[in-house]
Symmetry: C2
Subunit: 207 residues, 2 copies
Amino acid sequence: MPQERVKTRTSLDRSDWIHAALDVLADKGLDGLRVEVLAKAFGVTKGSFYWHFKDRQDLLSAVLTLWKEGRIKDIIKQTTAAPGRTLPQIYHVIEVYSAARSRKGMNIELAIRDWARRDPEAAAVVEEVDRWRLECASRLFIECGLPEKEAKSRSLLLYAYVFGQSLMVFDQYDADVPSLQSWIADVITLPTPPAFPAGNAVPATQS
Amino acid sequence: MPQERVKTRTSLDRSDWIHAALDVLADKGLDGLRVEVLAKAFGVTKGSFYWHFKDRQDLLSAVLTLWKEGRIKDIIKQTTAAPGRTLPQIYHVIEVYSAARSRKGMNIELAIRDWARRDPEAAAVVEEVDRWRLECASRLFIECGLPEKEAKSRSLLLYAYVFGQSLMVFDQYDADVPSLQSWIADVITLPTPPAFPAGNAVPATQS
DNA sequence: GGATTCGCATACGGTACCGTATGGAAAAAA
DNA sequence: TTTTTTCCATACGGTACCGTATGCGAATCC
């Protein structure tokens, strides 16, 4: 008999709880991530939760692991897709990680990084994700012909800028913020800084 | 932990509570900032707290106001000190805001910016502080002869980089992280990017 | 020196969680 | 069918807070 592979909504499994936890983490932060709140959101009681998880920390560790593996897979995917077009890929990485592109993803990032300031397990996860991202981005810069030290520096600048930007409030700073951001992306990416006005178009001279 | 401040230990006033709250904020974040915990740190009960403050929100608002005014005064001070030596001042700003320089100050920064993600009052404070800093930094770049758009862009890059760096874990990324940071400071500050190896020395060709 | 205000202690009720113990219905296994 | 396993509900004790009410000694004012 062919078993119904359709996701039966009659019961919850570990994965459901973990994904819901990531949602709550995104807009309430770690301290807003409460098992009774999660249960209420599912319309069940915490009796269900404690059948799937030993305790709250069990859920938190699972959240960290899922996030870590997802981010590592993603950065590998983002940096190995189109060989021969490395420079556009760098711009793409910058854009992908912008808060406007994925508000929820960035909120999770910020929540976990704040978490990591006080929890060693979260700090270890963040460190591993940072290492992967920095090394993947460095490889792109090296493929563009930059020396290793400069590649590492530009990678660090890239990620620090992207995350730092998501911490700031600068909507009213300039009438044309996107053009500022585009110019910055060029500074981070290109060996020689551009002059204003500069578009976000990728130079065609890359191969 | 209780009372670092030297005072006539006869009684506590509003200022004592607010400053202690900033300490806790740096360590435990907003959710760790609890009235009864603060009181215990002072060796008093919360009866004292509720004599000086209407409620917890009253304290939180006072914390935001104190932080805002302190940051605004500080950025003005940091960017108006030495006329004619603007370029070294930019490097100084970068260094001052590095996490290594003032761990506690950066922890407060991060706690308040995380706070601002969910609280409009905190968000307004962060926006005002960001506006001051960006405009003060822009002025330095403009004094160096850069056009306004580029000055604004470099200022945004500067602060985003500094804050973003404090979110990341990259101790093991390279054997000589300080040289990477120094190179990055040059990229942010100088019109033409430096080559490796580059020191953090400020070029004497300024002003 | 009595009255008043100050600065805090004590005590209380209430909320929101955590984790455990236990029961029970429904599905799966036997 | 009977048994077992799965998945969740209910109930409970405990902790850590919040904010209020009230008491109370010591300083301050009249």
